[in-house]
């Protein structure tokens, strides 16, 4: 952002709170299979952590840490984790998403199911986070920040 309004309080506060937000997001993602929470909610929290940093420090700061391509890759890769775990169950003669059939060295089928759901939640979380940040980048770029980044932010996947 060209005329970023530097505010020590906001910057300091965001710097302190960002790790906590991200950790909380991960916590929510990993609690999806047993309690309220899961990939969507956790992914939104993870994404909002990055968006908060982008608001406080400017988009360039965030782009240096997590580039547009990585974000696009994460969005696609999350769905791949989801579908991949689902499709892997087909190999062991289960139905799609029938995690209980996965040959993991665990005593109980329910434990395997729990792990399967956790894998799925991780995938969903990555995708939701990626798409949230990607939408934010697109909005910022459409708002006239292209010169600043010298075309590094290629226009996003769906923007036109």
């Amino acid at each position: 952002m060209t005329n970023r309004y530097e505010n020590l309080i906001i910057e300091f506060f965001c710097r302190v709170i960002a790790p906590v937000v991200l950790l909380f997001g991960v916590y929510i993602v990993f609690h999806g299979e047993a309690s309220p929470g899961g990939g969507f909610q956790g992914g939104v929290i993870l994404g909002s952590g990055y968006i908060m940093l982008a608001i406080a420090y400017g988009i360039d700061f965030t782009l240096k840490r997590i580039r547009e391509r990585i974000i696009l890759f994460l969005s696609g890769f999350g769905v791949f984790i989801y579908g991949g775990i689902g499709a892997a169950c087909l190999l062991w003669h289960g139905n799609f998403l029938d995690y209980g059939k996965l040959p993991l060295p665990l005593a109980h089928t329910n434990a395997i199911r729990g792990l399967g759901i956790m894998g799925i939640e991780i995938g969903v979380g990555l995708t939701v986070m990626g798409v949230m940040v990607s939408i934010y980048y697109d909005l910022i770029v459409a708002g006239g920040n292209q010169k600043e980044n010298k075309g590094e932010v290629c226009d996003g996947i769906l923007s036109r």
């Binding site: 696009l72 890759f73 969005s75 991949g84 499709a87 139905n95 799609f96």
Partner: protein, 500 residues
């Protein structure tokens, strides 16, 4: 592995759709080939599903092994096995022929995103066809809407406005559908279609069920472009990239029509719409007005894609009319019209795509001598046009024939007149194009001008585009010639017991 075929249609497309943009970041040309391979696998899986249904009867596929009232299930019976193969086949052929057109019309940077959305759209249409769960249906409906918004917006000037109109109306439609699902869930506590079908008769006089039914009709009506709710359709079809018009015109509205069949026949009982509330009668009149309106508006158009779009509104009317007749012949005619119209409209939009690709002409008045420039394409156009009018060996004749039989056995004489009148109107707007194309060089110059006519060189579209178009034309004839087999093996099972 054949019992996993239903899920392979969805899973293949879903998994590939998200790899396309990632691989496309490195090599943009590869996006198309990955998409084509995925659609071919999905098509093979759809054929496997149909084969399995024909051999062993309807398939119930439980997601994750959870049994139906709680888990999500895919139910593939005779009707949707047919629709599934139809969607897969048409999207496969469209994809083959779309390559050149997409390269011409879409900015190179957007190819990976385009093919990714394209795969997701086909995936959601197949999902809508296969699912046996009302909420799962909503999810696929929403995916198909969202991808269609994005794809339509990639078109020419004005596509953004067209897409935005569709966003507004489509969101209203999807919300109405969701509200309907919610209302049914309040009174029944179930989302599974078979379960709802079992629970429904006891609740027929509940006002909540009436409201839910009304929400469903409006929501699906918007998605399928039924007459008073069609306003998004002409602009969207006209402004979208040609390849997308050729994909969504034959598939998206047909799948929505299939959903309407599903809701009226196998969520609610057909008696609900005929005896308890006069829904069938209302739908019949709406369909009749839509048939005439679409045909008349099509006559008034100069742009070929816009004309075909209005023609679609009219043809959707036929399908709904068949459903609203609520007798054996009507239902079969309506369902067969899903097939015949999908092939005919797909072929016509692919022809429009080839013409736009090769010549850039869209105004019908400039079609002169196009038969000499593009003989194969125009031959396919004639077959499709004859099917739309309803000339015997083509598919359109048989579906209209069953519809007319349906109106006669239901003694709806006015509807018989509407179908016949609309066929005449179809003849007017299609023969206008055929006349402009084939005969204007004889008529235009008068007695003295013909020896000055310059010889026209044949500039046919590339083979990759023409062969799928010809296959679609063959498909039109095949649906026509084998209509008895299609009805005998697939469609006769949709007629509920107790209907004449």
């Amino acid at each position: 592995m054949i019992h996993q075929a239903p899920i392979l249609t969805i899973a293949t497309l879903l998994l590939t759709a998200f790899w396309v943009p990632i691989i496309g970041m490195f090599k943009k040309e590869s996006a198309y080939y990955i998409a084509l391979a995925a659609i071919f696998i999905a098509f093979a899986a759809a054929c496997g599903t149909l084969y399995s249904v024909l051999l062993h009867g309807p398939i119930h596929y439980h997601m994750g092994g959870w049994p139906p009232p709680w888990g999500i299930e895919f139910v593939i019976d005779y009707l949707n096995a047919g629709v599934l193969v139809l969607i897969a086949l048409i999207s496969f052929l469209t994809t083959i022929s779309a390559k050149k057109s997409v390269e011409q019309e879409i900015n190179r940077d957007k190819w990976p995103a385009f093919w990714s959305l394209y795969l997701l759209l086909i995936m959601s249409l197949m999902g809508m066809t296969e699912t046996g769960d009302m909420f799962n249906m909503y999810v696929y409906l929403e995916v198909s809407s969202l991808t269609a918004y994005g794809l339509i917006a990639m078109g020419e000037d004005g596509a953004l406005i067209a897409s935005f109109n569709y966003v507004i109306l489509g969101s209203v439609g999807a919300s109405f559908y969701l509200l309907g699902v919610g209302y049914l869930y309040i009174v029944t506590g179930s989302l599974n279609m078979a379960d709802l079908y079992r629970l429904m008769p006891g609740l027929y006089h509940s006002k909540v069920v009436f409201t839910a039914f009304a929400f469903f009709m409006v929501g699906i009506g918007i998605k399928m472009g039924l007459f008073p709710l069609h306003v998004w359709l002409p602009d969207a079809y006209t402004r979208a990239p040609s390849a997308i018009s050729a994909l969504i015109a034959p598939t998206m509205t047909k799948v929505s029509a299939y959903v309407l069949f599903r809701i009226i026949l196998s969520v609610f009982h057909i008696q609900f719409s005929t005896m308890i509330i006069p829904a069938a009668k209302l739908l019949m009149w709406i369909a009749a007005v839509g048939i005439i309106y679409g045909s008349i508006m099509a006559i008034a158009q100069k742009d070929i894609k816009r004309m075909l779009a209005y023609s679609s509104i009219s043809q959707i009317g036929y399908i709904v009319l068949g459903l609203a007749l609520a007798n054996r012949m009507g239902l079969i005619g309506g369902a067969l019209h899903i097939f015949s119209h999908a092939f005919a409209k797909g072929c016509l939009f692919m022809v429009a795509m080839a013409i736009v690709y090769k010549t850039g002409i869209r105004n019908i008045d400039e079609f002169k001598d196009l038969n000499k420039k593009m003989p194969f394409t125009m031959a396919a156009f004639c077959v499709a046009a004859l099917s739309m009018v309803g000339v015997p060996p083509t598919a359109g004749f048989f579906s209209k024939w069953y519809l007319v039989l349906g109106t006669i056995s239901g003694r709806h004489w006015l509807m018989t007149a509407v179908i016949l009148a609309s066929s005449l109107l179809n003849a007017i707007y299609f023969f206008r194009i055929i006349e402009k194309t084939y005969f204007s060089s004889f008529l235009g110059g008068g007695g003295h001008g013909h020896h000055k006519t310059p010889t026209v060189v044949m500039t046919e579209a590339p083979a990759m585009m023409v062969i799928p178009i010809l296959l679609m034309a063959v498909g039109i004839l095949a649906v026509g010639l084998f209509n008895f087999q299609i009805i005998h093996h697939l469609l006769q099972f949709i007629v509920p017991g107790g209907l004449a």
